[in-house]
């Protein structure tokens, strides 16, 4: 499957309408990928609360992989990608770049902390 097709599948399954705005829809969290880090690298979310993750890259292709929730995306420069995400369990979960991007690729990772709604 090529990247385009894969992304379309992602769109159908996960992508929120691009018209969603902060005041009417879920919060948009912009995650910037660049060699060799994610900004922010630590994201705090509430269990059960839907957010939109918006991925952008400022240099080259990176990946976003959050295996605990089976979320993954290709992040291409000039092509922001939005993914709707509702964490259904609390805890601390690692996400990392899964597209080899160079010398610092191994360290290109971050953490999503999901707190119980209560």
């Amino acid at each position: 499957m090529n990247h385009y097709l894969k992304k379309c599948l992602l769109c159908m399954l996960l992508l929120a309408p691009l018209t969603a705005t902060a005041d009417t829809g879920p919060t948009v969290i912009v995650i910037k990928a660049s060699k060799f880090l994610f900004q922010p690298a630590k994201i705090e979310l509430k269990k059960g609360q839907t957010v939109i993750l918006e991925f952008t890259s400022s240099d080259r292709m990176h990946g976003f992989s959050l295996p605990d929730f089976a979320v993954r995306a290709d992040i291409e420069p000039g092509n922001p990608l939005r993914v709707s995400f509702t964490p259904d369990k609390a805890g601390s979960f690692v996400f990392r770049c899964d597209i080899f991007c160079g010398d610092g690729h191994e360290e290109m990772a971050g953490e999503i902390i999901v707190r119980d709604g209560g």
Binding site: M1, S65, P67, R96, I99, F100, C101, E106, E107
Partner: protein, 300 residues
């Protein structure tokens, strides 16, 4: 009979000191009961697997002898009592660089050093450090095909490339090639697969997987006698998927922690009290149609 290295001689080799560690691989500790297998002329032999040499890596806290460890390994292989039939490097021959010229320089240097190996044949497969940034262009210029197969003394060897696509996939083209390569083989053909990354989901949180690796495993499941030797995780590791064992080799630059045993998959620092600790290579003795024996070697 056909056994060139007999059991006594082998145990002797394994038992001697001088930094020789012996570990039998999972499911590999049984010797062939006899030398005759289905009336086919087979011959015992061994080959050597070296992995993750990362030529060009710099980091004194991780390996102060980064510019000398490869030569040390070459000397250790040359010092083996009996030369192996061949040597295989399972990827990350060089350490990655964004500079295309420097990448080629590292490959040329690596090639010159391993040309000192006193063996008839040296085989290579790429790691992501060699091939991911330019889709294997420089690698192919220096080391040849990214994936291929060959036959040696009754065993069918398959070298798979799960790194030249930076997304760590074999891809549909290579999977179709694998299917065609396997199609003509009888189900009892012994098959040895070389690959850089684990084909199975070893530890997804550290991305120790191959996205479409399961498709290759599914194809291989139809064969009775398959074993996979790989690298990438810089440590010895043994795992079974169904009846197929997967054996990860040590690195020759720095070790990595066991999957999930540390918060980060960061290199284990060099221990001046135990230089070269966790580094090594392995001898693999093949008893065609029956079994293999893995002997881990350390550097001292």
């Amino acid at each position: 009979m056909a056994h060139l290295i007999d059991r006594r001689q082998f145990l002797h080799l394994a038992g001697i000191g001088g930094g020789v560690a012996f570990v039998s691989g999972l499911g590999f500790d049984v010797f062939a009961a006899d030398g005759l297998t289905d009336g086919l002329p087979v011959e015992d032999f061994y080959f050597v697997q070296l992995s993750d040499t990362h030529w060009g890596f710099k980091g004194a806290d991780k390996n102060p002898d980064a510019a000398g460890t490869l030569q040390k390994a070459v000397a250790a292989v040359n010092a083996l009592d009996k030369p192996p039939d061949f040597v295989v490097f399972t990827g990350d021959l060089t350490h990655t660089t964004d500079d295309a010229q420097e990448r080629r320089r590292r490959m040329a240097e690596f090639k010159a050093i391993v040309s000192e190996l006193k063996v008839k044949q040296v085989k290579f497969i790429p790691g992501e450090h060699d091939a991911s940034l330019d889709k294997g262009e420089a690698y192919q210029a220096y080391f040849g095909d990214l994936h291929y197969s060959f036959d040696h003394k009754g065993i069918h060897f398959i070298a798979l490339d799960n790194v030249s696509d930076p997304a760590a996939q074999l891809g549909p083209t290579q999977l179709a090639w694998l299917q065609a390569d396997l199609q003509v083989l009888p189900a009892n053909t012994p098959i040895v697969v070389f690959t850089h990354r684990p084909l199975f989901d070893l530890y997804a949180k550290w991305d120790w997987t191959t996205r479409d690796g399961q498709q290759a495993i599914d194809m291989l499941m139809a064969f009775e006698n398959v074993v996979v030797f790989y690298g990438h995780i810089h440590q010895e590791h043994h795992h079974l998927t169904g009846h197929i064992p997967h054996h990860a080799a040590k690195s020759l630059i720095f070790p990595l922690p066991a999957p999930g045993s540390a918060p980060k998959r960061a290199p284990i620092p060099w221990d001046p009290a135990k230089p070269y600790n966790g580094l090594g290579f392995r001898n693999i003795e093949a008893y065609p149609w029956k079994n293999y024996r893995v002997e881990e070697k350390t550097l001292t």
